[in-house]
């Protein structure tokens, strides 16, 4: 396994397979990964762990991804954390509602883990202060 220096990614998904796939890949790719199975858990983990990025499924039990994102973005502590919406909802308008809720990126499933990893890397690299700290 590679060194854990690329940042902590919180993966929120109610499907166990998905959590497993992205965890395996991201960890292999050098990221730290935290997991949550529903919106509420996502809020708790985000507040608790302060991850560098959150991969947010939208259809979630307890609290859906839209609501969770909205709350994250309303919270002063978590609002700066980039959120990638990753959903199997492909119909028109979903990307827009996700954007309105505060998601920074919208990706439709199926999404191969390598592509997700590249996207995460791109977002984190766009925030130089953070990566520099990490890099130093």
């Amino acid at each position: 396994m590679k060194k854990k220096r690329r940042g902590l990614i919180l993966v929120v998904d109610d499907v166990a397979d998905n959590r497993d796939i992205y965890t395996q890949y991201l960890v292999h790719d050098g990221f730290q990964v935290a997991l949550a199975g529903d919106g509420q858990e996502a809020l708790d983990k985000a507040a608790q762990l302060a991850p560098d990025l959150i991969v947010m499924d939208l259809s979630l039990p307890v609290m859906d991804g839209w609501e969770a994102t909205r709350r994250l973005k309303q919270n002063g502590i978590t609002k700066h954390i980039p959120v990638i919406a990753l959903t199997a909802h492909a119909q028109d308008g979903v990307a827009e509602t996700a954007g309105e809720a505060g998601c920074d990126r919208f990706i439709t499933k199926p999404c191969p883990p390598d592509e997700l990893a590249r996207e995460i890397a791109r977002i984190l690299e766009d925030r130089p202060g953070r990566s520099k700290t990490q890099g130093a």
Binding site: D17, I21, Q24, Y25, K109, P110, C111, P112
Partner: protein, 713 residues
């Protein structure tokens, strides 16, 4: 005269004056009074009374009295049969007697009375030869005066005169009456304007009135012309009268032209003569000349009258013409009927109904007769009604020519003169055919209208019902549509979720994250990955088609640079190009105008076309070109290849759902055949079109045509 008056013997002059007076004076009373006064003056008489026998010879009447003072015997009279009365006795003794105290006799109480002695002298008594009794009595006082020479003179002279007067008094009366009658007759004759002439049997003029005298009576002082005219008139008259006599016509009338002696103008007379006979006067002829006017004036008057008559006639005619014009200008039949019910006037429309046809056609004649009967009975109703000047009601008439019924509304009015006399009846007929037809049509219209209304009501009810059905169907459809959308969303979501796992795990395996992978394993994993990719494409295409079909494919119009877009698409398929080993070129002019369209849709179409070209071109080239057609204001993008081509029979089918050319299937090309059908749908969605030009074995050229700007939505 007072009794003391001094009497003096009458002078010869006084006697002459008295004699003259008596000769001239005709009134006996005047004579008597004057005679008594004369005696008072000349013969010493103080009182005197003169009595005379009246014309009837039955009474003795006082004519005059002098010297009696208050005992004036003005209306004193005695009956001659009273022989005992001294006066009557004196009269019958016929000689002078002395009367003394006789006035105390009660029978003479009414007479002038005096105790003195009187002398009674019978008048006419001096005529000794006459056997006749005296006609009067003169009583004087004092009696001594009887011997006075003047009294003797007066008696000698006056009494015979008086006697004559008394004797002829009756005749004179008759004469006066006759004269009066004569004067009256003359006056009457003179008031007659026509000249009247009475001639004797010899034709001599006996009597003529004033008008006749003007024509026939010559006078000495008149002018020569006048006299000649009068002479001529007399000549003509005599000729006319003698002819009259010769022809022996007792009553005749003829014309006579005479000249007016005053101005010589012609006078035209009509002569009417009547023969009369009188016992005393014998026979004569009365002729009346009736002036029939001078001819000139008559002619003038005649002409004037004729002119007036003509004017009046013209006025009447004009009035009648006006009336005719008014009546004939009325379109409704108008008839004027006299009080006997006979039609005296009618206008043309009425004549059509009531005039016997000239053709003599039997049916027409019968129709007119029927009309006449119906009309007459209607008008007679009006005559029967005593009160009311108007009458109206319906009459059933017949059109004489067509024999069609003509229902009319008739209004009759009595024509009544100012004197209240019935002159006739005016009747106006209103043709009711049109009104009846109108009401019939109206009724029909009403029925149709009602039927229509009923149908409209039914249709409206049906519409409401169908509307309700439609509304429900619409609601159901909406629900179904929502369910479908929801279903699609769910299907999409549920298909993608396992696909995500497949692809995810495949990639993990391929990258050796789960342990070392043999080359053969890697190949197998690649195939797994590729098929997962195709499955994803298929799912996406299916979703696209259903979204377009459901009208849920959103179109976002914006400025699009085709040259940029083409480069971008080529860049995206770069790995495939490299893999295909084909000559891929692009020919896009620099000045290609920007268009307004949906960038993502164009990109999807071009990607699809380009991937198809690469897929079905084993060798050769793939060329992407773009041009602007200013005339049609549109852009053309063509993707041409030197591939396997499409048979002409297949060229339209390839745009249908799930269609692939038989060759592509035969040659083992992958794909389910949804790409082109989606491309065509997308092109139409943004206002463009896709066409193909291909030859089997020689390559294909797919052309996307886009408007520079979408038509106003």
């Amino acid at each position: 005269m007072s009794p003391e008056a001094v009497s003096a013997p009458a002078s010869p002059e006084a006697k002459l004056a008295m004699a003259e007076f008596l000769l001239v004076q005709e009134n006996m009373a005047e004579c008597a009074e004057r005679a008594l006064e004369w005696l008072q003056q000349h013969s010493g008489v103080t009182k005197a009374l003169c009595l005379a026998v009246d014309s009837s010879q039955k009474q003795l009447i006082a004519l005059a009295a002098v010297g009696w003072d208050e005992q004036e015997p003005a209306d004193f009279m005695l009956d001659l049969t009273d022989r005992q009365h001294p006066y009557v006795a004196a009269l019958f003794k016929n000689k002078m007697v002395m009367l003394r105290g006789t006035f105390s006799d009660p029978r003479a109480a009414a007479a002038p009375y005096s105790p003195d002695t009187f002398a009674a002298i019978p008048l006419g008594g001096g005529d000794q030869t006459a056997e006749r009794r005296a006609v009067g009595l003169l009583i004087v006082n004092p009696a001594s005066a009887r011997t006075d020479p003047d009294l003797q003179w007066l008696n000698d002279y006056m009494m015979p005169v008086l006697r004559r007067r008394l004797g002829t008094s009756h005749l004179s009366e008759a004469e006066r009456s006759l004269r009066r009658e004569r004067t009256l007759l003359y006056n009457i004759l003179n008031t007659v304007h026509d000249p009247i002439i009475l001639t004797d049997t010899e034709g001599r003029l006996v009597i003529s009135n004033r008008s006749a005298e003007l024509l026939f009576g010559a006078r000495e002082e008149e002018s020569e012309g006048r006299r000649r005219a009068i002479a001529l008139n007399n000549m003509f008259l005599s000729a006319a009268l003698s002819r009259h006599a010769i022809e022996d016509v007792s009553l005749d009338s003829r014309e006579l032209l005479l000249a007016d002696p005053a101005d010589g103008s012609d006078l035209f007379f009509e002569l009417a003569s009547t023969v009369f006979s009188d016992v005393h006067e014998g026979t004569g002829v009365v002729t009346v000349l009736r002036n029939v006017g001078d001819l000139r004036r008559t002619t003038q008057e005649l002409e004037e009258n004729y002119r007036r008559l003509r004017l009046a006639e013209e006025e009447v005619r004009a009035e009648r013409d006006r009336l005719d014009l008014i009546i004939s200008s009325v379109a409704e039949p108008i008839l004027v009927t006299d009080p006997e019910g006979k039609i005296v006037m009618m206008n043309d429309p009425a004549e059509r109904l009531f005039t016997m046809p000239k053709s003599g056609n039997l049916e027409e004649t019968q129709n007119v007769q029927a009309n006449d009967i119906n009309f007459s009975s209607f008008v007679s109703n009006l005559f029967l009604m005593s009160e009311g000047r108007q009458h109206h009601g319906g009459i059933s008439l017949v059109d004489p020519e067509k024999s069609t019924p003509v229902p009319v509304e008739a209004i009759s009015a009595k024509l009544i003169s100012q004197q209240g006399e019935l002159l006739g009846v005016v009747t106006i007929l209103h043709d009711q055919t049109e009104a009846l037809e109108r009401s019939r049509l109206y009724e029909q219209l009403r029925l149709v209208s009602e039927a229509l209304e009923e149908k409209v009501r039914e249709a409206t009810a049906e519409l409401v019902r169908q509307n309700e059905v439609l509304r429900r169907q619409h609601m159901e459809l909406q629900q179904a549509s929502q369910l479908k959308s929801q279903f699609l969303a769910n299907v999409s979501h549920e298909l993608r979720t396992p696909l995500n796992s497949i692809i995810g795990y495949t990639r993990i395996l391929m990258q050796g994250i789960s342990g070392t992978v043999t080359p053969q394993q890697r190949v197998n994993l690649s195939r797994l990955d590729a098929n997962a990719g195709r499955l994803l494409t298929l799912i996406n295409q299916l979703l696209d088609i259903t979204r377009i079909e459901a009208g849920k494919m959103a179109v976002t119009m914006a400025k699009v640079s085709l040259s940029t877009l083409i480069s971008e698409v080529l860049a995206e398929v770069e790995p495939l190009i490299l893999q295909a080993k084909l000559e891929v070129t692009q020919k896009v002019p620099n000045d290609l105008p920007e268009i307004r369209s949906d960038r993502e849709k164009i990109k999807q179409i071009l990607l699809n076309l380009l991937m198809n070209a690469l897929k079905f071109t084993p060798k050769g080239y793939v060329n992407v070109s773009a041009t602007y057609q200013g005339m049609q204001d549109r852009l053309i993008v063509t993707v041409a290849d030197s591939g396997i081509g499409i048979a002409e029979t297949e060229q339209e089918k390839i745009f249908e759902d799930f269609r692939r050319s038989d060759d592509s299937v035969a040659k083992g090309y992958a794909g389910v055949g949804l790409g082109l059908s989606i491309c065509r749908r997308l092109a139409v969605l943004i206002g463009g079109k896709i066409t193909v030009n291909s030859k089997l074995g020689q390559g294909s050229a797919f052309t996307l045509t886009l408007p520079r700007a979408p038509k106003t939505p």
